[in-house]
Structure formats: structure tokens, C-alpha cells
């Protein structure tokens, strides 16, 4: 198909209607900046050639055919086909932002249900219509607490996803917000030993942890009031099917990533972030909000609301500059949650726990391999290997096994550690391939000394 479908007859009729002689008359670009020679682009392909070209490119991505234990913020979950059957319908794919509520009631209610699902899962009072991804959600949550408290410093756990912390740092640098990191313990959770003492300075807007954290460990803050707000990051929200809500231990804001709910991994995106908070934070929450109201005839209706926080307001007074959301991905997540229901989500979470336990038991039965951290985990854990993680991963890759993420990439002190993830899609033969693989490759690799076992 062509992106410019107008025929010569269409163009002629339009020129006549506006009284112009030719198209050149309508274009007022000064001669000295006009494009004189065509851009050097290859000729257009026919649609069937496009299909052929990209099918060949897709086939060059071999990773999906390997036994994979990759996680670290993006998760491989079962997606029931009913989701695509509904979400790929043209009405959802090609509708615009629902500013004109009268013609958008369907999408508005869908996003209202997304907001409600996020609240039910996190225990919060309200959630917005979504943001780009978990990393952005964290950065925006940080802006919320800085604005709310006037304090320009944050305490952030080192066990928060490194990519999320990198995005947070980008925003923080621009806002002149100082970030201090909290270390992690042998349990895999955050070291809170000196927390109360640090907070007596009253300079921190918030303490930020992720649960389950980047090491897979459940990592919450104490329930008591701190002299700082509490932000909980959730990168694997399937865990909320079984874990106590962040609200239950006093989180003021819960941010995270909802890719696990039916959204494709797609080499990193598009994904979908969520931000949820207690009701006192309502005026400070960024992003779009769908509200429920009644129309002039008293009938229930949905509408974008509180738009003067960021979009229809002076720039200096805006809470945020996002002014958008990930509506289609949020819709996918909403359909997933509706189709799975409480029973499906619990079964899925339990299956994840079960497969992760099988995987962990399997790898820990290989001589030299141990769990690096001792605390409770959901579907990810860190395994320590008796060689450089990068070497072990390369050797397993040659056996078509992707054993996980080399933690040495982000934590130099953990270069003998691999973050390994199992989900409901991890099969027994995947686990066997991993354990047999480890048993075979480890004796062939150069040993790395380490202190202590788990």
C-alpha cells in the first residue's frame, strides 16, 4: 500500500477547490534551503518483499529458540490468544487520545479498569493511565516526592534495577536531586541498618526499594513511619498475586512495569509503566487520569480528568512533562488481567514459584554452584558459579542455553553471579538442559575463588 494514496484526479480537484495552479504554489520553502537532489534511499519494496525481508531478519534472532532463563525486568509469560484477538481490533489500534470523551467511552472505561486493577494489586488508592515503562515510572515517582517534600535527596537501594536507577539519575541530575545508595545484605535485600539514623537529617524526600528486587529477593521497608516517603518499585507485578501489597508496609507510591501482563518482550518495548499512590498524593501524580462521572442526563460516563496537572497548564507549574500514556499496552494488560482473573493469576504465580524452586534445586545440586543470597525470592534468584559468570554463560550459550544475566555487568563485585529466572513457561527439559549444561561446562572453565558458601 502507499502512504500517499491521492490520485492525480484527487490532487487536481483539491487544487481547483483552493484555487491553486499546482502543488509547488502551496509550498513556501526558500530556494536556498530546498532539497535539490533526491535523498539516497533504496527504492520502495512491494509488501510481499517486505514480508519476505523481515521474515528473514526475524529468523536471524536465534535467542527465542534457546532454553531461556532471562528475566531482569522483562519476563516471558504465557499470553492467552484471546488478548490479541481483542487488542488488535482496529477500533483499539487506531483510536486517538480520548480527549473527545463522547466517542471514546469504550477505551476510557478500559483504562479506568486498568487503573483499578493496578490499585487492587498494589493496595493503592489511585493509579494513572500508565507511563512508558517501569524506569520512567520510577523517575516520575521521584519527582512526585521531591515536589511533595521540597527535599532534594533520595535514598535508593542498590538492589533496584540498574537500568531504572540510570534513568532516575538522568532525571535527578537535571533536577539537582542527590541520590545516595543503600547497600545490599547477604539475604539479597537492602541494608536498612543505619536508615533511621540517616533519616534524622530530614534531607531525604523518600527511601526507594524494589520488591522483588533485581536479585529476585523480596525486599520491603519496615511498616513504621519514617521521616521520608516510601516508594516501592515492582518490576514483576505477577508477584503481587501472592505477595503482601506495598501499601501494607506503608508505601506512599508504588511504581513499576506491567509487561508481564500479556505484553510482548519485543527486545525491550513497547512496555508499560504504572504509577499508583495514596489519595493525598492525587494532585501530584503525573500522567493521564481517567475518572468516572455522570453526563448531563445522569448516565455514568468516563473522561480524562485533572488535566491541569501537566497538560493544560503553564510549563513551570506542570507536575510532569509526559502528557501521554501507553494506552494500547495498558489495554493488553487489562484484558490479560480480566481473562486470567484472581484464580489464573494465583495459579500462574504458584507455577512460577514452583518452577523457580525446581530450577534453584537443580542448579544447586551441581558441584560448585550455590545460591548467592539467602532471602525469600519469587521467580528469580542469583546463582554463584565457580568461574567468571561471563565464561559460564558463553559456554552454556554454545549448548543453546541462556542461563540468565551476568550480574558482573552491573555489579563488579558479583562477576561470578548469574541472575536466573523461571516462569510458568520454563519446562523440565529447560531445567535439565541448564543443570546438565552446568555439570558439563564447569569443570572445563578456569576456577574463580570465592569466600563463603550459601
Amino acid at each position: 500500500m502507499t502512504y500517499t494514496p491521492h490520485t492525480a484526479a484527487d490532487i487536481k480537484a483539491m487544487l481547483e477547490a483552493v484555487g491553486a495552479k499546482d502543488l509547488a504554489e502551496l509550498v513556501q520553502v526558500p530556494d536556498d534551503v530546498k532539497l535539490r537532489t533526491p535523498l539516497e534511499l533504496p527504492a520502495p519494496l512491494s509488501e510481499s518483499e517486505i514480508a519476505e525481508k523481515f521474515t528473514a531478519l526475524a529468523a536471524r534472532n536465534e535467542a527465542p529458540s534457546y532454553a531461556s532463563f532471562l528475566g531482569a525486568g522483562v519476563y516471558r509469560h504465557y499470553v492467552p490468544p484471546v488478548i490479541a484477538a481483542l487488542a488488535m481490533r482496529g477500533e483499539f489500534l487506531t483510536s486517538y487520545t480520548p480527549y473527545q470523551a463522547e466517542v471514546s467511552q469504550g477505551y476510557l472505561q478500559a483504562i479506568y479498569e486498568w487503573q483499578t486493577y493496578i490499585c487492587l494489586l498494589t493496595g493503592m488508592d489511585l493509579a494513572n493511565a500508565s507511563v512508558y515503562d517501569g524506569a520512567t515510572a520510577l523517575a516520575e515517582g521521584a519527582i512526585m516526592v521531591v515536589n511533595a517534600t521540597g527535599r532534594h535527596a533520595l535514598l535508593v537501594s542498590k538492589a533496584v534495577h540498574p537500568n531504572y536507577r540510570a534513568v532516575l539519575k538522568t532525571y535527578a541530575d537535571g533536577l539537582e536531586v542527590e541520590i545516595e545508595e543503600l547497600d545490599y545484605l547477604p539475604t539479597g535485600s537492602t541494608d536498612l541498618a543505619n536508615l533511621k539514623e540517616k533519616l534524622t537529617s530530614r534531607k531525604y524526600a523518600a527511601v526507594i526499594v524494589q520488591s522483588p528486587n533485581f536479585f529476585g529477593a523480596i525486599d520491603t521497608l519496615p511498616k513504621d513511619d519514617l521521616d521520608a516517603l516510601k516508594i516501592c518499585v515492582v518490576a514483576e507485578p505477577l508477584s503481587l498475586a501472592v505477595l503482601a501489597t506495598p501499601r501494607s508496609w506503608g508505601a506512599d507510591i508504588c511504581v513499576g512495569e506491567a509487561q508481564s501482563f500479556g505484553v510482548a518482550q519485543a527486545y525491550g518495548g513497547p512496555h508499560v509503566g504504572f504509577i499508583a499512590c495514596t489519595k493525598h498524593r492525587m494532585r501530584g501524580i503525573p500522567g493521564r487520569l481517567v475518572g468516572r462521572t455522570v453526563d448531563t442526563e445522569g448516565r455514568t460516563a468516563y473522561v480524562l480528568t485533572l488535566q491541569a496537572r501537566e497538560q493544560h497548564i503553564r510549563r513551570e507549574r506542570a507536575t510532569s512533562n509526559i502528557c501521554t500514556n501507553q494506552a494500547h499496552c495498558a489495554l493488553i494488560a487489562t484484558i490479560y488481567l480480566a481473562a486470567m482473573g484472581a484464580t489464573g493469576l494465583r495459579d500462574c504465580a504458584l507455577e512460577n514459584l514452583s518452577r523457580a524452586r525446581e530450577t534453584r534445586n537443580g542448579v544447586c545440586s551441581v558441584p560448585g554452584v550455590s545460591a548467592r543470597f539467602t532471602g525469600a525470592t519469587f521467580n528469580e534468584f542469583v546463582m554463584r558459579v565457580p568461574s567468571r559468570a561471563a565464561d559460564v554463560l558463553a559456554a552454556l550459550r554454545r549448548r543453546r542455553v541462556l542461563a540468565g544475566v551476568d550480574l558482573g555487568r552491573f555489579y563488579p563485585e558479583l562477576d561470578d553471579c548469574i541472575l536466573t529466572t523461571a516462569t510458568e513457561l520454563t519446562t523440565q527439559s529447560d531445567i535439565d538442559a541448564l543443570t546438565d549444561g552446568l555439570r558439563t561446562v564447569l569443570p572445563t572453565l578456569q576456577r574463580k575463588e570465592f569466600a563463603g558458601v550459601c
Partner: protein, 112 residues
């Protein structure tokens, strides 16, 4: 009346779809009780009820597939379905961002 009942106002225990194997044990078989939530107040709806619920939303949502919409530049153009078909090829769709470069050559070639 365009609004329909919320998904939370529908459903019943026992209407689960069972897309995955059922687990009779509870989460405390894996995790200490103090880490767990008490209940999960989400509705269970059959797949058919989910389809009808979102089908109603489709009827109440205007998009450029239906007609001209003079708001927003994204609505000024039609995106051909081949784009979605290609993006949904499993080799591209199911690729993890931490896949090693040598096993993601197709995606990297697209970006290049």
C-alpha cells in the same frame, strides 16, 4: 447508555479460565506467611464474558479505521497492517532485551 458494568462488577468464583495448570496448594508452601497477601480481590470471568465486555468497548470507541478524525497527527495517516504483522513475527516479538548480540542479529540489523 454507553457505559457497561465494570469488569469488577461481573464474574463469579468458579468462572476461572484455567489457561495454566491449577495449584491446589497455597503460597505458604513456598514463602513465609508474613510475606503473603490475604486475598486477591480480582474477578474471575469466563473468556466469553471477557470477550463480550471488551467487544462492547469496541462498539463505543471511534478510530480512524472507522472514519476521518481531525485531531492529532497520528490520526492523519493509515498504518498498514503489514507493519503489525512484521512486529508480531515470533522471532522479533519474543526476543528478550538481554539476549546476547549474536543471537539478536535480526533485531540489530533492523535498528541499523
Amino acid at each position: 447508555m454507553l457505559a457497561s458494568p465494570l469488569i469488577f462488577e461481573q464474574g463469579q468464583a468458579g468462572r476461572a479460565n484455567h489457561y495454566l495448570p491449577h495449584h491446589a496448594e497455597s503460597a505458604d508452601a513456598y514463602l513465609p506467611q508474613e510475606l503473603l497477601r490475604e486475598d486477591l480481590p480480582l474477578p474471575d470471568n469466563t473468556e466469553l464474558d471477557v470477550v463480550r465486555h471488551f467487544m462492547w468497548f469496541l462498539y463505543c470507541t471511534f478510530g480512524i479505521d472507522i472514519g476521518f478524525y481531525p485531531l492529532g497527527s497520528c490520526t492523519m495517516k493509515y498504518n498498514p497492517r503489514i507493519n503489525d504483522a512484521v512486529a508480531n513475527l515470533p522471532g522479533l516479538r519474543d526476543l528478550h532485551p538481554f539476549a546476547p548480540d549474536e543471537l539478536a542479529q535480526g533485531a540489530l540489523a533492523v535498528m541499523w
